[in-house]
Structure formats: structure tokens, C-alpha cells
């Protein structure tokens, strides 16, 4: 037993600890502990009242037992009793026990709070200190409720001792972190800021921590701290090493305080006041200069403390991102550290350079260190350092060095630690895509990835390569050839089989001319892998086979034989069995035409955020992957922009209409919405479920896909935060005859729609997709109706979450009621913060009068009878116009049906003409509508005639429909 040094207190405790240490086995230890617990329990329960000392001793034993990892379920009451002892040590042990063991037992908390209250009021600084520590340690909401009002007073009171001030500041900080809502801002805040001027450096240190946290949330209120912090910092960095006495640490003046001040300054943009700014720049320069001075001590503590300040200064320089000179100096300094013999410094230099790489001022300077970083990847013995090197290579990558960096990463991957392989795979995949000039390089890189680290290639990576190949026809042939060659390897990774299966199924025909990769050879090659693969891969291969049936009729029978074999048709796996049965059937009964339609080439995938990027983000946790550029912008926008109100235009939200729910759509999937084609790689879904649904399949040309390639064309409009309505008329008009699709898309945001209408009611689901990897803040979509429109159209929207995470999608429901006929379309205005910039865009929301159409079937006789009844010139509107699209009768029919009216066959004596009839439902009235469309193929013209009982309706419907052909 060692000599217990000071406060030679509790021998019983020491004996107990010795006993435990002497236990030879875990069992013996547990036995000894149980004996002790029984003893303590009997003491606590015994009739004899325990004196404070014994209580303290037993409570301390319990604490020890707890810290050994055993559960303690009694003794709390005794500990609470100790709090009200007048003896310091008893009180202290009581508080320690509470700090370590307290749970949210509300009854106890009340008692504890009482004791704390007494100690805070005691004016005894030692007791006050204990009480404040306890609050900070527990930090629960109940405590915040009880003390958050009191502590600021203690903090700023003139007669509070310095040590208590320090405790109060940090205690308040702790409560603010837990329950910011309970800490009232007030007069005390300005006095807290002035603690930065305090004589006592301990007080300044504690206060700086508090101010930093408060300033993050309330930048305006604490703005004055900037100049105070700068002058304090300036005094520290220019002081001689002995000036600050005990606050000098191994010849470095107040390193902790310096770091904290520099961090506080990172809550703000560069100071506006030129004097303050100049002084700060001087400070930062001094810190950078000092890094070049010879060390004042050989001790590692000296260099660590000095460099801690240096790194924090560099963080501030990067945060401000405004002084090219400082940025480049910082980069050079870090460059020196890259080759330092201290592993810690190399690690930090790599880490810090990652952020420098995203600044336009220092990106090039960072790039000059590429060889050193690559070397680090090869030679560092510590995986965490190599990890940093990978991160830095990723950050410094651009078009100029992508090939080199990707090659090095692939190289490294062969020997990389298992723990970081998946991440490297993702990074390589992203870089290869992002900087591919030549997509054959991209394809090679991904196939290499699969070869080297197939097990670490996640689904997202191979999905992505397929998306890219499908979207770029220039690379399809090459991809087919390359996967075909890669599949020749006797042992290839299952992921390669997946990619190969998919690509050959789509583009195998592009290489089928070569006798070495004839259809049969392709098929045999794939099928030779079939039995080695897992069920999902086999399922995919079966789809490939049916695609082959379409692509290569000559091997149809071979494939049918395979599908027909028992191992397929009677496969124990339901999915495989079903595919085999269905594909076999499809190949037998479908005509070549149908087969060709069903198995048509996959449409291009919509361009959106790379799924890999999303994956990497998920893996690394939010924020770590996003472009650092973006992060920084966002950080500064948080600071500058938080004062800006998130304006919610309430006026547009009309009164709730109770009838809106009659549709009963709820959150249930809409019945007539075609399943989004891109959701399923599966052919059958695309083919069969569509035909069961309403309009889409009738109109193959109507581009009902989200995959429609021309969507990208609206991209240009995006960036400028314009106030004008995005007159994406083309897209708007597309929605006249359909209800689902993409309404708007730019580089940041995609807006998708799904809607359904019945009689005069409708419901529209608006989907906002964040295409970036950065959060949108203050995201506020508002539906705006002009005054005119407001009386005719009741729109009811629910607010959406103001934060849209990168890659995430939020949904908004608009309930619609048509009160009377209307002309204009409502405007959807969207405002949000992206990075540092405020985005504001508006699009027309395609709620058009024809949505409230109900089709009416009628005979030829009825039609012309009614047609004649509506012969008043005001009731008819006619438009003659040139065809904008190929004049295809089937498409035209589909459009008229999509428009909402019934398509009446065999009504018009001229079979080339189209006639339709329907009723527009509004709340107040119903309006019968008849229409007739006469195409003139020779002239490529149409004549469209609308007759309704209301002139405005005829007019509007004619306008809307004329745009469709």
C-alpha cells in the first residue's frame, strides 16, 4: 500500500482498494465487492445514525465500486445528505458522487438543487465553486431551469471572486449548450464581453470560451467582442515570454487563451474596421514569423504550444479566406511541416492543408506539394497519417492532376488498410467521374477499382458507372468491349459480373459484330459466371438474358433453353423462379415489336447528385465531405445571414378548405401515378405497370419521364438569384397534359410534381430535391396567387422544414380547390440559402383550368346537337397554328385525354379530326366544353375550336391546348 500523500483521509477506503487489487481473479473481486456492498447497505440501513465521516467514506467506496464498472443502485440519498454538511470534504465527496452518478431521478434533483441553492447563496467561494461544478457536471435541464437565471448575475457581480467568476462562466456555457432556450440574454451580455479586458487571465480564458459559444448563436449581440479579442491577442503575441508569469507555458505566452481568442474570431468575418483588421493581420503575421524563429526550448511542450497557436491562426486565415498573402504563407508553413520529423505535425499539416486546398488563393500553392503527399501515402507508417494524405490528395485534385492522383490512389489501394479501403474506393470513383475528360479513362478506372478492391466497391459505385455509360453514348461501345474483356478473367469479382451483365444487356450489340464477341460468346461468357453468383446478381443476369433475346434473336432458343431448365423454372428462390417463368413466357408469346418496345434501351438517367458522393458523406458523417469551399461559405453565411428573417408569405396560404381531403389521397401512393421509370432497373415494372395506369404509356413521345434529357436545358437559368419568374414555359406546358414530372431543375435544386385532380378538387405533391452535398438553409417555398387568382383558386399549403440536407428531398402538399374558372397560374417562389448565397427563384405552378375537367362520353348526334347550341360567337374560340411537334395521331389522342376531356371516336365525319367533350368543375358552377381539332398534314397546321358556355373558359382552354401540338 503506498503512502497516501495528503489529506490522509480514509484508511478504510485505502484498505478496501488494496483488497480489490489483491484479488487474484475476477470472481474474487466480485465476491469482495458484494461483501462490501452488503456491509455498506447494512450501515446505511442500520439504526445507528452514521456520522458525516462514515457517510463520506462509504459513499466514496460506492463511487470507487462504480468506477470499477459495477452498477450502484443505492447511496444516492446519503450522498445528497453530504451536500448539506458544513464540512468541506464531506460536501466535496457528496458533490463528486452526484456528478459521477446522478441520473434523472427528479426527486433527488430537487434535493440536490436545494443544496446547490444554499451553497450558491453562502458567499463562501469554495462552496460556490463546488456548487457551480456540480451544475456544470450534471448540466441537466432541471438544473438549467433552476439556475440559468442566477448564474449570469454571479458572473457579472462586482464582488464575485475571480475563481468563482471562472466557474460561473463555464457553468453558464455548459447550461447554454444543453438548454440555450433557458439562458436569457440580457444586460449581462455586454458585461461578459468586457471580461475580455479583465486583469485576471484565468477569467479571460473562461470568459472567452463562453463568449465564443454565445457568439455563434447570437453574432450581433457579441459583435463588440471582435475588437476586444484582437487587442487582447495582440497584447499576448507581442509580450515577452516572462510577462504573463504563470500563464506562460514553456516560453509560450498564454497559448490556451491565444487559441481560444483565435477561435472566437472565427465566429466572425474579417473585421470591418481597418484599424482592427490591420492589428489582427499584424498578430497573424507575428505568429507566422515566430514559427520561423529558433525554438526557445528543446522540449516538445514548447513546440506543441507554439504550433497549437500557429495552427489555430492558420484556421482563422483560412476562415477569412481574404488575404492571399497570409494564405500562401500558411501554405508554405504547412509545407515545411509535411516533412517534419514529428508525426503529429505531419498529421496536422496534412489535415490543415485539406482546407487550404479549397481556397482559390492557395489551391495552387497546395498543389505544389503533391509529390510529398504521395510520398506520405507510400511511406507513412501510421494509418491515420496515411488517411490524412488520402484526404488531402482528394482535396487538391483538379483537372490538371486528376489522372496522377487517381493512379496513385489506385496504387495505394492495393496495399491499403482494410479500414480505409471503402472510402478510398468512393473517392477514386468520385474523382474519376468528376474529372473525366475522356470517359474511357473513367470506365477503365472503375473496372480497375473492382479488380483491385471488388469487395469494397459498394452498390452505389457500380450503379453510378452504369448511369454514366447509359447517359453517354460515346462510351457505350468502349464500355461493352472493356467489360467483355474483363470478364474473360477466370476469377472475376461479382461486382464485375453485375456491371458486365448490365452493360452487355444494354450494349452487347455494339460489339456483336466482332466474331470474338459474338452474341453466343457473350452469352456463354456471362452464363459461365451465373452459378457462382449470389441471387441478386443472378436475377440481374436473367434480365440480361431476356434483353439478349431482343438484341440477338439468333440465340433466342439457347436462352429459352436456359430459362426453361429446372434449375431456373423450379428455383427455390421465388424471385429467380418468377423471373425465369415470366421471361420465358415473354420470349415465347411477345412479337418482335412488343419485345423491342418492352426491352428498349434504358432511357438516360436524370442528372443529379452522384449517389457515391451521398454515400461518402454518409460514411464520413455530415459535412466532412462537402466541398470545403461550400462549408466555408456556409459558415460565414450562418454568421452574416442569421439576422435575415425567413419570410413566409402567409398571404398566399388561403383558408383551409375542409373538403380538400375528400380525395382521400393522404400519404398513400397516388393511384394513377406511373412508377418513376428510373426507380427500377427492372424491366417488367416499366413495362407492365405503366400500361395499367392512365396516360403515360399511350404517349411514348410525351416524355413523361424524369429521365427526359432536355431537362438539363433549363439549368442555365439557375444560378443568378433573380426575382423574375423562371419562365420555363416549355416545362410548364408539359404539365398541361400530364400530372407528374420534373417541373424545374438547376444545378442546386430539382422540383418534382405529382398531382391528382377530381372534380373541382386537387392535391399536388411538390418534391424539392437538394442536388448538392450542402444543406439548404431557411428553405422557404411559397405559393403565390395574384389577387385575381385568389378569388378563383383556393390553395392550401403546409410549411416545410427550413433545412434541406444535402442529397435529401422534402415534400410539400398543396391542396387545391377551384372556386371559379381562372386564367393565370399560381407562382411557386422558393427562397433558400445555399452556401453563402441567397437563392430566390420562382416558377409557374402548373395548376391549369383543364385540370378540373371531367370527361363526358357522348354519341355523335348528341355532340353535334350541343355543338350547335353553343353557336353564339362569344362561346367559340378558334385558333389556327403551326404544328410544333410531329403530327402523330396516337400522340395527339393521348394529349387530348391527358388534357382531361373525353376523346370521342367516330363522332366527326372526318376520321382525321379529333373531338373531345368534358365538363369543367368549379365550386360555383360546371361548364360544359366541346373541342375539335382538325389537323392539316400537308400544311403542318392545326385548327382548334373550343366551344363552351363561357367565353373566358373557351379562351383559356384554347390557349392551353394550342401549345400542346
Amino acid at each position: 500500500m503506498p503512502a497516501v500523500s495528503k489529506g490522509d483521509g480514509m484508511r478504510g477506503l485505502a484498505v478496501f482498494i488494496s483488497d480489490i487489487r489483491n484479488c487474484k481473479s475476477k470472481e474474487a473481486e466480485i465476491k469482495r465487492i458484494n461483501k462490501e456492498l452488503a456491509n455498506i447497505r447494512s450501515k446505511f440501513k442500520g439504526d445507528k445514525a452514521l456520522d458525516g465521516y462514515s457517510k463520506k467514506k462509504y459513499v466514496c467506496k460506492l463511487l470507487f465500486i462504480f468506477l470499477l464498472g459495477h452498477d450502484i443502485d443505492f447511496g444516492h440519498m446519503e450522498a445528497v445528505n453530504l451536500l448539506s454538511s458544513n464540512r468541506y470534504t464531506e460536501k466535496q465527496i457528496g458533490y463528486l458522487f452526484i456528478s459521477v452518478l446522478v441520473n434523472s431521478n427528479s426527486e433527488l434533483i430537487r434535493l440536490i438543487n436545494n443544496a446547490i441553492k444554499n451553497d450558491l447563496a453562502s458567499r463562501n467561494p469554495t462552496f460556490m465553486g463546488l456548487a457551480l461544478h456540480c451544475i456544470a457536471n450534471v448540466g441537466s435541464r432541471e438544473m438549467a431551469e433552476a439556475f440559468a437565471g442566477e448564474i449570469p448575475k454571479i458572473l457579472v457581480a462586482g464582488d464575485t471572486m475571480d475563481s468563482v467568476k471562472q466557474s460561473a462562466a463555464l457553468c453558464l456555457l455548459r447550461l447554454y449548450r444543453t438548454s440555450p432556450d433557458l439562458v436569457p440574454m440580457g444586460d449581462w451580455t455586454s458585461r461578459v464581453v468586457h471580461l475580455l479586458n479583465d486583469q485576471h487571465l484565468g477569467v479571460v480564458t473562461a470568459a472567452t470560451s463562453l463568449i465564443t459559444t454565445l457568439a455563434q448563436k447570437n453574432p450581433e449581440e457579441f459583435k463588440t467582442s471582435v475588437s476586444l479579442a484582437v487587442s487582447r491577442l495582440s497584447r499576448i503575441v507581442t509580450s515577452a515570454s516572462t510577462d504573463l508569469q504563470d500563464y506562460t507555458y514553456y516560453f509560450v505566452p498564454a497559448p490556451w487563451l491565444s487559441v481560444k481568442l483565435l477561435r472566437l474570431l472565427q465566429c466572425y468575418p474579417p473585421p470591418e474596421d481597418p484599424a482592427v483588421r490591420g492589428r489582427l493581420t499584424e498578430c497573424l503575421e507575428t505568429i507566422l514569423n515566430k514559427a520561423q524563429e529558433p525554438p526557445k526550448s528543446k522540449k516538445v511542450q514548447h513546440s506543441n504550444a507554439k504550433n497549437a497557436v500557429l495552427f489555430e491562426a492558420i484556421s482563422l486565415i483560412i476562415h477569412h479566406d481574404s488575404e492571399p498573402n497570409l494564405l500562401v504563407r500558411a501554405c508554405n508553413q504547412l509545407g515545411q511541416f509535411l516533412q517534419h520529423r514529428e508525426t503529429n505535425l505531419r498529421y496536422l499539416a496534412l489535415e490543415s492543408m485539406c482546407t487550404l486546398a479549397s481556397s482559390e488563393f492557395s489551391h495552387e500553392a497546395v498543389k505544389t506539394h503533391i509529390e510529398t503527399v504521395i510520398n506520405a501515402l507510400k511511406t507513412e507508417r501510421d494509418v491515420s497519417v496515411r488517411q490524412r494524405a488520402v484526404d488531402l490528395l482528394y482535396a487538391m485534385c483538379d483537372r490538371s492532376n486528376a489522372q496522377q492522383i487517381v493512379a496513385e490512389m489506385l496504387n495505394y489501394l492495393e496495399t491499403a488498410d482494410y479500414s480505409i479501403r471503402e472510402e478510398i474506393v468512393l473517392k477514386v470513383a468520385i474523382l474519376a467521374e468528376k474529372y473525366a475528360v475522356d470517359y474511357t479513362w473513367y470506365v477503365d478506372t472503375i473496372l480497375n477499382l473492382i479488380r483491385i478492391a471488388g469487395d469494397y466497391v459498394s452498390e452505389e459505385v457500380w450503379y453510378r458507372v452504369i448511369q454514366i455509360v447509359i447517359n453517354r453514348d460515346d462510351v457505350q461501345g468502349y464500355a461493352a468491349k472493356t467489360v467483355f474483356e474483363a470478364l474473360q478473367a477466370p476469377a472475376c469479382h461479382e461486382n464485375l459480373v453485375k456491371v458486365g451483365g448490365y452493360i452487355l444487356g444494354e450494349f452487347g450489340n455494339l460489339i456483336a459484330g466482332d466474331p470474338r464477341s459474338s452474341p453466343l460468346i457473350q452469352f456463354n461468357l456471362l452464363h459461365s459466371k451465373f452459378h457462382l453468383c449470389s441471387v441478386p446478381t443472378r436475377a440481374l443476369l436473367l434480365s440480361t438474358y431476356i434483353k439478349f433475346v431482343n438484341l440477338f434473336p439468333e440465340i433466342k432458343t439457347t436462352i429459352q433453353d436456359v430459362l426453361r431448365s429446372d434449375s431456373q423454372l423450379k428455383n427455390a428462390d421465388v424471385e429467380l423462379q418468377q423471373r425465369a417463368v415470366e421471361y420465358l413466357r415473354l420470349s415465347t408469346i411477345a412479337s418482335t415489336d412488343i419485345l423491342a418496345t418492352v426491352l428498349e434501351e434504358m432511357p438516360p438517367f436524370p442528372e443529379r447528385e452522384s449517389s457515391i458522393l451521398a454515400k461518402l458523406k454518409k460514411k464520413k458523417g455530415p459535412g466532412t465531405v462537402t466541398d470545403l469551399e461550400e462549408i466555408k461559405k456556409e459558415r460565414s453565411s450562418d454568421m452574416n445571414g442569421s439576422a435575415e428573417p425567413a419570410s413566409v408569405n402567409a398571404s398566399a396560404v388561403s383558408t383551409p378548405s375542409p373538403s380538400a381531403d375528400l380525395l382521400g389521397l393522404g400519404a398513400a401512393p397516388l393511384t394513377n401515378s406511373a412508377p418513376p421509370p428510373s426507380s427500377s432497373g427492372s424491366l417488367l415494372v416499366d413495362v407492365f405497370s405503366d400500361s395499367a395506369s392512365a396516360v403515360a404509356p399511350l404517349a411514348p413521345g410525351s416524355d413523361d419521364n424524369f429521365a427526359s434529357p432536355d431537362l438539363a436545358s433549363s439549368e442555365v437559368v439557375s444560378e443568378e438569384p433573380a426575382d423574375t419568374v423562371h419562365d420555363a414555359d416549355e416545362l410548364f406546358h408539359k404539365f398541361v397534359c400530364k400530372n407528374n414530372g420534373v417541373l424545374f431543375e438547376n444545378q442546386l435544386l430539382q422540383i418534382g410534381l405529382k398531382s391528382e385532380f377530381r372534380q373541382n378538387l386537387g392535391r399536388m405533391f411538390i418534391f424539392y430535391g437538394n442536388k448538392t452535398s450542402t444543406q439548404f438553409l431557411n428553405f422557404t417555398p411559397t405559393v403565390i396567387c395574384s389577387d385575381d387568382l385568389q378569388s378563383s383558386l383556393n390553395l392550401q399549403t403546409k410549411p416545410v422544414d427550413p433545412t434541406v440536407d444535402g442529397g435529401a428531398q422534402v415534400q410539400q402538399v398543396v391542396n387545391i380547390e377551384c372556386v371559379s374558372d381562372f386564367m393565370e397560374a399560381p407562382i411557386l417562389n422558393i427562397q433558400f440559402r445555399y452556401g453563402g448565397t441567397f437563392q430566390n427563384l420562382s416558377v409557374k405552378l402548373p395548376i391549369t383550368l383543364n385540370k378540373f375537367f371531367q370527361p363526358t362520353e357522348m354519341s355523335s348526334q348528341d355532340f353535334f346537337q350541343r355543338w350547335k347550341q353553343l353557336s353564339n360567337p362569344k362561346q367559340e374560340v378558334q385558333n389556327i397554328f403551326k404544328a410544333k411537334h410531329p403530327m402523330d395521331a396516337e400522340i395527339t389522342k393521348a394529349k387530348i385525354i391527358g388534357f382531361g376531356s373525353a376523346l370521342l371516336e367516330e363522332v366527326d365525319p372526318n376520321p382525321a379530326n379529333f373531338v373531345g367533350a368534358g365538363i369543367i368543375h368549379t365550386k360555383t358552377t360546371q361548364i360544359g366544353c366541346l373541342l375539335r381539332l382538325e389537323p392539316n398534314l400537308q400544311a403542318q397546321m392545326y385548327r382548334l375550336t373550343l366551344r363552351t358556355s363561357k367565353e373566358a373558359v373557351s379562351q383559356r382552354l384554347c390557349e392551353l391546348l394550342s401549345e400542346q401540338f
Binding site: C267, S384, Y502, P536, S543, S682, V685
Partner: protein, 200 residues
Amino acid sequence: MRGEAGPGAALPGGRRRAESDPTGPGTGPGLGPRTPVPGPGAMMRFMLLFSRQGKLRLQKWYLATADKDKKKMVRELMQVVLARKPKMCSFLEWRDLKVVYKRYASLYFCCAIEGQDNELITLELIHRYVELLDKYFGSVCELDIIFNFEKAYFILDEFVMGGEIQDTSKKSVLKAIEQADLLQEEDESPRSVLEEMGLA
């Protein structure tokens, strides 16, 4: 609907909502778990002292954490740190935190800090704590910390509070502890050894 793993994701409503990933049990209120970057006011989440044999000697948590999670984190982190070789760097990424550790004789001192916190200054915070222990116990060893664990806690509390350094002056901290000891000595009346051992 078939579950074939095809490229692409569903739309609309199809793009998967970014799942809120488990940011570790330490994510407390006030520090939004989805904050893209932990703010500059990054704090220390916890400090552990453990031996080379993997015995935990001291644990201090600065954010409310469930016991179960604490145990799991301690076990996991000890494993990670003990597996590292002597010349490796003192920092590592672990879960969503940065870990700074240093070994003194048979004891590992290990701090978990948030993303924006300063690694080097944390390393020196550990050193300063060791200095304080050393000064107080007079050439501190693991046994001192085992037998006087409550003192080790008191010293740490004087030095760090709520995950932020309270006072960096060695003198101030030691003065506070010595004052407490004085109070203690005044308190205590001498007792017989037998009484101490519960035999009286």
C-alpha cells in the same frame, strides 16, 4: 415490384432522404447533430485515464451520456488506442470525434474532442494535467491515482470544467486544491486504525 439492383433511384420521393446517421451517443442538445461542421466553439467530450492493461482509472464525461454507451465507448476506444504503436501520431479520428492521447509511464491519458478543436493544445492540456498531478502527489504514479482517485477528480475539476479549460495557471489550480486540503485537515479528527477498518 422487383428488387433488382438497378442503377438510379426513384423519383419523386425517390431520392432517399439522407438518413440521420448516428453521430455517436455524445451528441448533445445544443450541438445539432446535423451541423455540417462542428462550430468553432468545439469542446472536449470526455477524458479517460487507463492503464496499459486496459484498466480504466478515471473517466470524466462533459456531455450527458448513457451508462451503456459510456461503457461501450470506453471499451472500443481503449482497444483502438492500446493497439497503436509507440511512434504513431497522437491523434486519430474516431467515430465523429478526434481523439488525442498520450502515454505517461503505464498510463494512457486520452481526450475526445470535437471536430474544430485544437489537437496540439489538447495534447498540452493532458501534459498540464499530468504536471498538476505530479506536483500534487510528488512524482505521481498510477497507484497514487488508484488510491486517491477522488483527488485526481478534484484536480481535474479545478482545471477543466464543462469540457473547457478553466485556468491554465499551475499555481492557481494547485492553490485551490491546497486550500481544500487545508479545510480537510481542519475537519478531520484523528481516528484509530481499528475504527477506520470498521472493527471498532
